[in-house]
Every structure is written in C-alpha cells, then in structure tokens.
C-alpha cells in the first residue's frame, strides 16, 4: 500500500495507551505492525479507603506528553524519519471517569477508576427503586446496573464534591472518559480543545442508547445527569482533531477506542464467533457477534466491537467482565505473603488421571506420597475453592454484596492449595462467561466455529496459570505473541481512517506466532469441579447486605436434592395409572354385568 512517499517502514502510526497501571506511547510501522519505538510510565493508583480507586488526571496528561516526547526522540535516534508519522490513536481503559472545568482546564476531582466501588450506596438506592431489577436499563444501554460504569460515578461526584455541583450549575463542567480527557488536552485544551468520545467508550458510561448510538435523554434522566456535560459521540475511525503542541504538532488524531474492543481487534478476531480473553488485574472475555446486536439474558454486556467510520456498519460483542483475576494472585502475594510460584509438576496428578483414567488401577494405586516422592509434586489438588469476589461479582452475576470466600478448608490444606484455588477461580469465571455466551447464542451454527479462546494480557505470560485455565474451561487456548493487542487494534483503526490499512490487509499481514495450550482434564472432571465452584459462588453472595437476610435463609434452605428423587417421583404416577386402568376395567365389567 505504500506509495513511495515514506521510508523503509512505510507509514507510521503512534498510539497513546492508558491502561489501569501504565501510560504508554507506541509507534508502529504499518508495513508489518512492528513497534519501532515506545516509552512507558507507571501510573499511580490512589486508594483512600477500601473499595476506592483513583488516578490523577493531570499526572495522566503529563505522563502521556512525556511518553510522546521520549518515543519521538527514540525514533529520531533510530534514524527513522518522524515525519512518516501520519496519525495517532488513543486507547484507554473504559469506565474511568473525569470531570474538569472547561474554562480553567483543571480537573474538578481525581479520575475515578472503573472498578471503584464508592458509588455502591447510590447503586443500592437505584436498585431499591427498580425493585432490584439489575437489568432495568439493559434494553436501552446494553448494560446492567453496576457501579463500574461511569453514570454512577458522575452521580457520586455531583452529590459529594461541591466543586462539581457548582461547576455544573455554572455550565463550566465537562465529563469525559480518559480518551476524551487526552483528546481535549492534545487538541488545545481551554483554547481549542475537542470534546468528543468514541462509541466504545461512550457505551461503557451506561448513558448511550446502543441502538441509536447517541446519548439517551431517558437514561440521563434516570441517573439524574445533565446532558450538556457529555462529549460528542463519534465512531472509532474518524479524524477527531489535530495535535496542537509538541513534537507531533499538526498530526491528526485518527482513532480512539476502549481497551478491550481494541484488544479484540488487535488479536485479529474480526469474525463472528471468535473469542478474546484479556487477563490483567481484571479479566474480560469478549465474543465477536458480528453485525448482530444480541441482548443477553445471562448476565453479559451487549458491547460494541468497533465502528470503523462514520458511515460504516457497527460490529457488536457480548462481553463478560470479571473483577478479580490477576489481582487475586497479587493479593495472595502482597497481603497474605504466600509464595505464588507453582512447581512445574503440579499438573502431574491431573495428567495421570487424564491419560490413564480416573478410575484405573494404576492411577488409584499410586499413593499421593509416591507421587510426591517421584514426581516432585508440591501439592496435590485439594477440595478447596476460592471465590475472589473482593468487591462484589460482575459477569454473569452482577452482585455488589458478594465478598471473597475460601471454602472447603481442612487441616491438610496448604498455601499451595490456596494458590491453586486462586488460579482456578479465574478459570471458573471465564468458563461461566463462555457458558453464558453459548446460552445467549442458541441459533448459531456451532460446527463451523472452533472451541478456541484467544488469550492476552499481562498475566497471560504465566505459563502455569494459562494451563490451569485451559484445564478448567476445556477449550484450546491460543496465545498470540502480540506485544500490545490494544495498541495494535488502535493502530489498525487509525490506519483505516488514513486509508493505509484495511481489515483484510491486517488479517493477512499482521498475524503473529501463536502458542497453543490444550486441556489436560476430562469432561467429567471439569463438570465435578464446576459443580463445586457453583456451590461456592452461592455461598459468597449476600454477605455484605443485611437487608436480604431472609433471602439468605431461603437460599440455603434448599439443600442437596435427594438423589432418589426421580425414582420416588415415578411411584405416584405409576400408582395413578394403575388405579385408572383398574377403574376402567371395573366400569366395563359393571356395565355388562349390572349388580341388580
């Protein structure tokens, strides 16, 4: 596609990337998607009290500027012509919310992180008003009611931060997610700043109508938010504005996208039926549903995959959000100070059971001490389950009153068992999302789709964790060696805007080498493990909510069903049928032989 106007790497595209832990700027070659230069700075997560998570928006903006300048210099050092950079894109974690003063350019409060729970009291009030129907606004927004979307965060700021309330009254307040915040600053801020957002970020606020793709006045009314503070909604692939200052002066901002849809695109899962799982502190599983917008009845989010142009068709996803994935392992290491390294032979018992059969003579005759001695087994899998619902559960439950629980402890339980259970917890949550995908797509032709899950994210580097997850979900896992799938996704989007990349081109030219992980468990084993997990999840709900104590009792009143129930139930039916036939015979007899 290069027309000779560019250097040996073709046209270059820069991507500003803000994740939950880092700010990055990457410069890609459109010829082969290679990252030519980049710079990265750590983001400070500000935690004032339990369940709160904030970022400093000024720090994010300064860090982004610094990353741009440093990456630009690195490019110069590599003797690559920086004028080949034809566009930049922005990718950010969705849901993180900023309010700022349009006249001074100063944030009115720190940015509230997407997983922040401070708005849970407001959520409780809303749920009470709508009779605890979590799906009350789903028909319009595609989202359940939860504190992880922006609407409740804005509501909280309006209620609790006087500066915010004042600024809104004086019409000086602007709301944005991090993409809006960066765009506004890049394009000139107070003087000429563009206040726009892309459709994937707008969707995650809970205020956008997923059908009309515009802000919905009824949703704003439901959440009691003013419409005028909201940014303009654009597609992912447009020229949003031009960089005003710095080394990239005059460069168009040609793409903006939320991190998870960008990962879906960056992993090149552009066909319906393809899955992507991104495993960071949190975990997101996305199913590309193509141009079909599916309303979920199983606790998933109807999301937007991408819209590559103002007049292009919108592609949709079903999405499962899992609030604690890698952060569970971090919690074990930092808070409990348990060593979370797992011996590489930990799967020996599972492998043995898979290949030989769980009930085979050889498998059962191997004592655990024998395996420990000969295979160096650190810990045999035990009967414990860990549900890390540290601040409630997201997909597919959407319960704010769940709390973390470890079940099945015996005096033989070890730290290694707890670590394994923490690893398995991520697998089970992914499995539940995949099951929900299946239930939400009953009409799809399954035979043409492979049971494959594309894996990415920081914690996907852990070999053992990925193998554990494959063992639990029973899918083949592919782990492409893509440096930053979200960055690549935005690069492709910007390339589409500038007409130097197309989706077909990207799928052919940008496919990376891939690691593959196969499950080593049997189906029966997986079903048994999942049954225990489902029971454990029931036990971690309702913990932090006294109002539903009666429901709590009712929940546990249903103990394990009598295994003889089918047999018992057949007895009355049998007796009824027998008696009915007996009466028919008797009636016939009496008819032909009257008593008198």
């Amino acid at each position: 596609m290069s027309n000779g106007r560019y250097g040996r790497f073709g046209a270059l595209i820069g991507v500003a990337c803000v994740s939950s832990t880092h700010c990055r700027f990457l410069i890609y070659s459109t010829k082969n998607a290679e990252v030519l230069a980049y710079h990265e700075l750590k983001l400070r997560q500000i935690v004032h009290q339990a369940g709160w998570m904030e970022y400093d928006p000024s720090e994010i903006w300064k860090n982004t500027q610094e990353c741009i300048e440093t990456a630009y210099k690195n490019l110069v050092i590599l003797e690559i012509n920086p004028r080949d950079i034809i566009a930049i894109g922005i990718v950010n974690q969705r849901g993180t919310s900023v309010l700022w003063n349009l006249e001074t350019g100063q944030p009115l409060h720190n940015a509230i992180g997407w997983s922040d729970c401070r708005s849970t009291p407001i959520l409780k009030t809303l749920l009470h008003n709508v009779r605890h129907n979590v799906d009350y606004v789903r028909y319009r927004s595609g989202l359940p009611l939860s504190s992880c979307f922006s609407a409740l965060k804005i509501r909280w700021l309006m209620d609790h931060v006087p500066a915010v309330a004042t600024a809104i009254e004086e019409n000086k307040c602007l709301f944005g997610t991090l993409d809006s915040w960066l765009l506004w600053n890049l394009t000139g801020g107070v003087e000429m700043g563009v206040h726009s957002t892309d459709i994937t970020n707008a969707h995650y606020t809970s205020l956008m109508n997923v059908s009309t793709e515009q802000w919905d006045p009824k949703l704003c009314q439901f959440f009691r938010l003013p419409l005028n503070i909201l940014p303009r909604i654009r597609s992912n692939s447009e020229i949003f504005g031009y960089v005003l200052e710095g080394p990239l002066h005059g460069t168009p901002i040609a793409a903006m996208m939320g991190e998870q849809p960008a990962s879906l695109l960056g992993q090149l899962c552009v066909k319906a039926g393809q899955n992507v799982c991104t495993l960071d502190d949190s975990c997101f599983v996305l199913l590309n549903t193509g141009r079909e917008k599916l309303d979920s009845a199983n606790g998933l989010i109807t999301g937007i995959a991408h819209k590559l142009g103002e007049k292009a068709a919108t592609n949709y996803t079903l999405e499962g959000a899992i609030s604690n994935a890698g952060s569970t392992v971090t919690w074990l290491r930092d808070k409990l100070q348990i060593n979370t390294e797992i011996n590489s032979n930990d799967n020996v018992v599972e492998s043995l059971n898979t290949f030989i059969g769980e009930n085979s003579m050889i498998s059962s005759s191997c004592s655990s001490s024998m395996l420990n001695a000969e295979c160096g087994l650190a810990a045999k899998r035990s009967e414990i389950t860990f549900v890390p619902a540290f601040h409630g559960m997201y997909a597919p439950y959407w319960r704010h009153d769940a709390r973390g629980i470890i079940l099945g402890l015996t005096s033989q339980t070890t730290a290694e068992n707890i670590t394994q259970a923490a690893y398995e917890a991520t697998g089970f949550q992914i499995f539940e999302v995949l099951q929900a995908f299946k239930r939400d797509t009953p009409n799809w032709d399954r035979s043409s789709m492979q049971p494959v899950l594309t894996f990415g994210g920081d914690y996907a580097e852990n070999l053992h964790l990925v193998q554990f997850i494959a063992d639990i979900i029973g899918y083949m896992l592919e782990r492409p060696q893509t440096t930053s799938p979200a960055g690549l996704g935005v690069m492709i989007t910007a390339g589409v805007t500038m007409k130097v990349v197309s989706l077909e081109h990207a799928v052919k030219m940008y496919t990376p080498p891939t690691d593959v992980f196969s499950p080593t468990t049997t189906k029966n084993r997986r079903e048994l493990l999942y049954k225990r997990w489902a029971y454990a999840v029931k036990k971690c709900l309702h913990w932090n909510n006294y109002e539903t104590y009666e429901a709590d009792i009712e929940l546990f009143a249903q103990r394990e069903l009598d295994p003889n129930l089918p047999v018992r139930r057949s007895v009355p039916g049998s007796i009824f049928l027998t008696t009915s036939f007996a009466m028919i015979i008797l009636a016939n007899y009496l008819k032909s032989n009257p008593l008198k």
Partner: protein, 576 residues
C-alpha cells in the same frame, strides 16, 4: 472462695504465671501425689505436695500425631507408655532439690485425653492398631450404618447423653473390628482388649492385672448408661461389642491397685485417681457448684458446665457426661459439655500449612496489628462442626475477604472464631440447663494470649477468669487421687479450704450489647455457609438397599400398567 486475687494481664512461665506467689509453705506436708497427664499433644508427669497442692516437679514431652489421610488422626500407644516412663523418671530426678525423694510419693493419679481408643492383644500386650484419636473422622461410614439402623442420630441420648458421632469410642471399636483383620481375629479368639487411654496406661503399669476405666472416661464411649453407670446391654448389642473386651467401670477416686511394671519408675506406688482431662480441669478450677462453667483452650476447646447431681439431657447437641464421682459411694456429679474441635489448631494450621503466621505463639502480636478482623470471619470446621451443630458435612471457610484483607486480619479472625464458638456453646448451655452463667473460667496453653482472653470477654459479654495454672487438669487429678478412700492425704473441701493455686486474672467485656449482637449474628451466617460442602461419593449398604427396593418396584409397576393397557385394547377391539 473460688474467686481469688485479681492479677490482670499477667503473663508468666509455666506452670505458674506469677513466680512471686510461690511462697515458702509453712504447712506440714502429708505426702506427695504424682499425676500422669496424657493429653493429645503432650504427655507429662507432675508431682504435688499435699494438702496445699503445690507443684514441685514436672516434666513434659510432646507426642507425635500420625495423619495417614485427611481426617485420620492416630498416635502410637507404645510411644505413649515410653513417654510416660521417661517423664516420671525425669520428674523424680527433680525431687532431691526440693528435699523429697521418690519414696515420699504416696499415690499416683491419671488424667487423659478422652474418647481416644486403643485395642490390644491381652496375651502379648501389644497394640493391634494405633490409637484412634478423639478427633478422627474415619468412622463416618460406621456412623451412617448405625444411624441407618436406628433411624435417629439422637437415639441413645436419653441413656448415654451422647449423639451417634464419629467422636465416641464405640464407633471406633466397631470400625477397627470391621476394617482391621488383626483386630477381627483377636476378637474371634477372645484375646482382644479395648479401652480408652487410661485403661491402656493402667494395663501397662500393672502388667495386665487391671483392665479398668473410670466413670468419666466410660461416659464418653457411647456404651455406658448414665443412670446405672454400667455398660448398657442394648448398646453393646447395637455396636456388636462384647462386654468382656471392655474395662470394668470404677469411680474416679478410689484405690485401684499398685503399679507393678518393672519398666516404670513408679513401681510400688498406689493408683488412686483417674479422670478424663476435661473433667479434671473442671475440678481443678473449682467449678463445683451447679452453673459454674470452665473452658480449656488447647488445640480444641472444651466447655463443661456443672449441672449438679442430676443429668441434663440436651436437645441442641451438647453432651451430657459425668463430671466426677469422688468415691464408690460418693454422689455422681454430672456436667453438660460442648466441644470446639478447632481452636489452637487453627493457628498451627496458619503457621505450618498456609504459612501466613511465622509462629503460632506470636498470634497475639500479629492479630493486635489490626484493630478489627476487617469483617473477615473464619469458621474452622476442618472435620465438620461439633457442638451445638453436629454437622459432618461442614468444612472450613474464610469469608468476607476484600482486596484490603491482610494476613493479620485472618489471624485475628482465627482468634475470634475460638471466641464465637465458645459463645455458641454458652448460649446453648444457658438454654438447656436454665442456670445463669455469669462468668467463665479459662485454662489451657492458649490462655497466655491476652488478646484472645479479651476478645472472649468482649464476645460473651461476661468476665473471663483465667487460671494462674497454665493447666489445671493435673491439679484436679492430683486432688482426686489424694482424697481417695484409703489414701486420705487430705479432704476435698472447696467450700472451707483455701487453695494457693486458685488465683485468677480477670478480663472484663469492653463491648456493648448491640455490637455483640451484630457480630454474633454475622458469625451465625458464616457458620451457615460452611455447611453442606462435602459431596458424598458413595452410598452405604443400607442406603443402597433402600435404593434397590425402590428401583425393583418399577418393573412390576410397568408390567401391571402394560397388562391393563393390553386388556383395554382387546376389549375395545372385541367391541368393534
């Protein structure tokens, strides 16, 4: 008399917490009493003066616990005897420093872990299997068999005071008979002896001359009738156990015989006191009035409430047991008991298995680093729940975790779990007995943890009196042995006599009723969630038979239905 001087927050060496109280006695000594204290984790031998019962010599060693499987706990009976002999020898060596000699020891008492069951060969004297510990749960299948036969886990409560549970010796003897070929063979050849640890000790000390037990240990076997205080024929038949295998039941305080074993340094001394360790602790803490309650904090906790001379039968899963019978003609005093199966064991587990606690003795330091447990609740139902729930299918649970939970919170939650389990039992005792329980006596190794004692007072809302003795068990057994008929070293008169050992530290509650009610309610809900975890993989034989009868009725039903259908069809056809 039972409330001595208050010395708050003291912490001292064993066995006395305050060395300054070890005064030079001016009382004329009448003789020495030795006590064999065979606990779950430690075996010790202590020597006391009379009548003031000051401990002047002691030695203790640890016993190892064998855990072949989850829920299985065993100990080596021969190791027990070797340890006893070693402790006695070491303790006697300390006597010359105090101006005494071995010949001054007039009599010996025994106090032991209860329910732990040993079977041995009467001919060879060798154990046929390891001792099955009281907390072993391998007999859960046996429990299912017996419950299927009698249809009610509380079927024998009115005669024994006990539910059918993995805890009690009858189930363990039955399991051994069913599962260990050597035991079955010995029973068939009528050379098998079975008993609790006290029986095993007495047998060895007397070269097999005596096969006896006391009424407190016998009341824990599920084979003794509380009224008659003899082995119950119905129970023997139900469990398929011959009376000749079992020891003869005696009172706690009488001359049983003389020690004749050549291997024991106690040779020639009299045996005159036997008590289960928890009953000895009840006596040692002077809980002799109805309504007085004590708790011993060790690996597990055991609460006993004195109910006087009539047994009180529980409807909420507490055990009715004999507290003591201080002579063949003395009145039998009963108690109601609740057990906490995991107390200090939870701290050991956090140290050894989960490794978030470097040393379980530092639990107080770690727990004090956080002001609360951060809404974390730990229900350590490692082998099911005991009083007042009695649920075998419960398992340990930690709930209420957030990303801010730290190991200090979990350690504190472990300490609080001990306090909540204690409160569960006290609530139940108050309901059952009707007595107003207004204070709690505490002893045991874990009571050196001041935070635990304060949390206990905060949880139950009443004062906790911590005994100055680290372990009042041996003290109780010593008094029991000393006052036996025929020994007459002194009379047991807690109403009249001042005992130097009976001093307490006092911990008062610092919480309000509302706080206690809320936190206790949350504990109840955490307990509820620990139930139902274990999925049964196998059915018992009786259960299978029931299933079989159900299934076998189906073919007949189908046959009858088909026959009638064909008949109707033929009638209709002939009608046309």
């Amino acid at each position: 008399m039972t409330e001595g001087k208050n010395l708050p927050h003291s912490s001292a060496d064993v066995p006395f917490r305050s060395k300054e109280l070890r005064k030079q006695s001016l009382i004329q000594h009448t003789g020495l009493v030795g006590v064999i204290d065979e606990g779950t984790k430690t075996i010790g031998f202590s020597i006391y003066t009379t009548p003031d019962f000051k401990e002047i010599a002691a030695h203790r060693v640890e016993l190892s616990v064998i855990t072949p499987q989850d829920g299985w706990y065993e100990q080596d009976p021969l190791e027990m005897m070797a340890s006893i002999n070693k402790c006695a020898e070491e303790a006697i060596k300390q006597l010359p420093e105090q101006g005494f000699s071995a010949s001054d020891i007039v009599t010996v008492g025994i106090t032991n872990q209860r329910e732990t069951t040993i079977v041995w060969d009467a001919v060879t004297g060798k154990p046929l299997y390891n001792a099955l510990l009281w907390k072993d749960i391998r007999t859960s299948t046996t429990v299912e068999q017996i419950v299927a036969k009698v249809q009610d886990p509380n079927h024998f409560r009115s005669s024994t005071g006990l539910p059918i549970s993995t805890y009690f010796s009858a189930l363990k003897i039955r399991w051994l008979r069913d599962n260990v070929p050597e035991v079955r063979q010995a029973i068939r050849e009528r050379r098998c002896k079975a008993g609790t640890v006290d029986s095993w000790i007495v047998w060895n000390l007397t070269n097999g001359a005596l096969h006896i037990t006391d009424v407190t240990n016998a009341s824990r076997t599920l084979l003794m009738n509380l009224e008659t205080q003899a082995w119950d024929p119905v129970l023997l038949k139900t469990f398929g156990i011959r009376e000749e295998m079992l020891p003869t039941i005696h009172s706690c305080s009488e001359i049983f015989g003389k020690i004749t074993s050549e291997r024991s340094p106690l040779r020639g001394m009299t045996l005159s006191g036997i008590m289960g360790n928890q009953q000895a602790s009840l006596l040692g803490q002077m809980c002799v009035k109805p309504g007085q309650t004590k708790n011993t904090y060790r690996s597990g906790c055991f609460l006993l409430c004195n109910t006087g001379d009539k047994p009180v039968f529980s409807r909420h899963g507490l055990l009715t047991t004999v507290a003591y019978k201080l002579g063949p003609q003395a009145p039998t005093i009963y108690a109601i008991e609740g057990a906490v199966s995991v107390a200090g064991h939870a701290l050991s587990w956090l140290q050894n298995k989960v490794r978030i606690l470097p040393d379980s003795r530092d639990a107080e330091k770690y727990a004090e680093m956080v002001p609360t447990s951060g809404d974390v609740y730990f229900v350590p139902a490692f082998t099911g729940l005991y009083a007042p729930y009695w649920r075998q299918n419960a398992r340990g649970i930690i709930i209420g975790l957030t990303q801010f939970t730290r190991k200090n919170h979990i350690v504190r939650a472990a300490l609080e779990s001990i306090c909540f389990q204690t409160r569960d039992i006290l609530e139940c005792m108050h309901q059952e007995c009707g007595y107003e329980i207004n204070k709690l006596h505490a002893d045991g190794k874990l009571t050196t943890n001041n935070l635990l004692m304060q949390l206990q007072a905060d949880t139950i809302g009443m004062p906790v009196f911590r005994s100055q003795l680290m372990d009042s068990t041996a003290f109780g057994a010593a008094m029991c042995a000393a006052q036996a008929d025929g020994v007459n070293l002194c009379q047991f008169e807690p109403e009249k006599r001042y005992y130097e050992n009976v001093h307490y530290d006092t911990f008062l509650a610092t919480t309000t009723d509302v706080e206690r009610k809320e936190r206790y309610g949350k504990w109840k809900r955490a307990v509820e969630r620990s139930l139902g975890w274990v999925i049964k993989q196998k059915k018992t034989r009786e259960y299978t038979e029931e299933n079989y009868r159900m299934l076998s009725s189906l073919p007949a039903s189908i046959f009858l239905i088909s026959s009638f259908a064909m008949l109707v069809h033929s009638l209709a056809a002939s009608g046309q």
